[in-house]
């Protein structure tokens, strides 16, 4: 998968790496069992510090999306290993809230936000049910 860093962005670089990894996995570009590139090689590819990539991988591990093993590297967890807990559901809701609130405050209507949601589903190739 292809990761593109925006060095001018307000989003920290490790967070950009994390998000793009997650989006790549969501789109099926990487699958459970696949190994992520080594921290060293990805850092070299992207032209960023190894510490940055390392921080991103540890964030992905904390989210339960990959497991890091000393010898085999960072492996994408299986869907079963990632059974969604009520706590994770609450976390997703908590993450959605500021985004929706910001859209509203900037003047977006519920309809516009739902339309954007549809576009996001389409981009991630998720069959939207009833949206």
């Amino acid at each position: 998968m292809f990761i593109q860093i925006e060095f001018q962005s307000d989003v920290p670089i490790y967070e950009q790496v994390t998000r793009q990894m997650i989006e790549g996995i969501a789109r099926g570009e990487m699958k459970p069992g696949d190994t992520l590139p080594s921290v060293r090689s990805l850092a070299a590819d992207l032209g960023v510090n190894m510490h940055t990539v390392n921080k991103s991988y540890h964030e992905l591990e904390a989210k339960g999306i990959i497991t890091i093993r000393p010898k085999s590297g960072a492996i994408i967890s299986s869907a079963e290993a990632r059974a969604l807990s009520p706590e994770q559901l609450r976390q997703i809701e908590k993450n959605l809230k500021p985004v929706v609130a910001e859209g509203m405050v900037l003047g977006a209507t519920a309809e516009q936000i739902e339309h954007m949601m549809k576009k996001v589903f389409a981009d991630l190739q998720i069959p939207a049910e009833g949206v």
Copy 2:
């Protein structure tokens, strides 16, 4: 409005202040024309550094949500002054994407994500159209 800081959170404190301000405005607890508390008094109330509150206010200004005037302080912009630009719409979509992708990767279904969206709309008292 009431702002609660989670000092243990991974979310930077200035970002927590920004999000809760936006959510408060979205819920109508603060309205266009209202003045935010002074940086000094909010920092004292929350027990955080003035620099932190200042950073949050400047983020709100950069988003077009408030205007900061040397004498009168930070004032919430009118809805007209916040006409949603195509760029802002793209930004909202860009913010939605990692949240939805993470939910998907963790195993949430489109239905679960839509259900969470409904809960967020309900909490922000937005009439959801066709969700």
